[in-house]
Symmetry: C2
Subunit: 278 residues, 2 copies
Amino acid sequence: MDNYIKKILYLGPEGSNSQLAAGIFENKLEINTEMTPVSTITKAIEILDEENEDVAAVLPIENSIEGIVRETIDNLIQTKADVFIQAEITVPICHCLIAKGKKEEIKTIVSITQAVAQCKKYIAENFPKDIGIILYSSTSGAAKFIKDKDNSYASISNELCAGLYGLNVVEKDINDVKDNKTRFILVARKKLCKQKKLRTSIAFTTENKPGALLNILEIFKNNNLNLIYLESRPSKKVFGEYIFYADIDKGYDEIKDVLAEIDKKCSYYRLLGSYCIL
Amino acid sequence: MDNYIKKILYLGPEGSNSQLAAGIFENKLEINTEMTPVSTITKAIEILDEENEDVAAVLPIENSIEGIVRETIDNLIQTKADVFIQAEITVPICHCLIAKGKKEEIKTIVSITQAVAQCKKYIAENFPKDIGIILYSSTSGAAKFIKDKDNSYASISNELCAGLYGLNVVEKDINDVKDNKTRFILVARKKLCKQKKLRTSIAFTTENKPGALLNILEIFKNNNLNLIYLESRPSKKVFGEYIFYADIDKGYDEIKDVLAEIDKKCSYYRLLGSYCIL
């Protein structure tokens, strides 16, 4: 398989967990390419839509605490191009408190809403009640933001950011809940993974009548298929009308007849990808 | 029924869509009480947990474009108090561009991420590519933020904010997707609605084996119950373990035997409320 890729897009700025994930994909798939940060998931999919097939993007799809990443699902469903999920990895999220100076000097903590929420107990136990909190759009952006500030600023970011932005790791692994992981997917037009496909993701809309979803789920059961994830997303057209997103723990080739049956029973159906788990 | 309530909490600051919703609840349920803004959904539920039974909170539960409001669901599931959903209303969300000066003077637009995304087309068609965008934590907070700035700032907020913060409505109804609505719930310990209960919300965790969710859904089908919403939320304990949130279009009294059956089959079950739709 020709694994040439011109560039891999990741959610920036530099030092993000998406970049960490992109590095793991690059390594496991033996791709050696340019890494380009983009500002949003929507932007990444727009570039995949517009550019030629030699571009891939690393996108977060599910976090163990926050749940499914809606912007990723919604964009995968709406893209017009033949962009498919090619591979998946799970990355542990390790929040660190990083700063220019020492712990005693910190008066303001900067990070993304989710990271602040995930380290709430740590902050309450280690800092006075009136500690300043600034919410930023990413953990790596927060690190970049404090690098030009004085010693009273700290950010909740990963360890990579400390090195990258010349900051100290004040404390490692400050998450309140220890099992914090994110699943990342690699999406591209081009097939990039030689390994066995172990998972398939689809999107579908059932007819709007009682039991319609159950009828679809029964197709899975009758074929001994395990649905490992099911989520409803608003159709964005009519309130109360949903597009379902589902993960099945088998590759496409094994289940294509079942998927054809589901396609026939649904008013909307789309294969989002059949991919390997690295 | 004694409808005395000491205060209704809503997501502030003043002028928010939550406050609009709180006013509608107050009116429809003939409650006349103090309205208190709170900064987050989590904070509102914390206050309900701690204080006596004469407090209620208005919380967004689902938006037609963004989907379910996770912070609301997660907090309803985790609260220790006997807090239940008492009533529900649907409110149209009308985004307006509001500013101190005129449209020609605007160089920066301030609002919450979702509102900016929902007015993306309008902004692209009406402003140059390099228009500044500042993301804020709420639409009413954005209006409050620009009130002390110069004429080059505008916010995407509702009409109420214009009056409240002394700003002009530059353009009304700038949403790209017109069917933008939010369902709000009124939660409290106290029963506040005399009308017929038309909806019931529950949370449950199935055993972690293939077909477990289907077995639960079959109970609904066998009893001719229509599941109008189903969403999975991470258990936040084990990655891949979920708590399901479901809405059923019947009141508790009509379906209590079915719910008892579901309770028996689930490792976790909680009634979140049986309520009237106003």
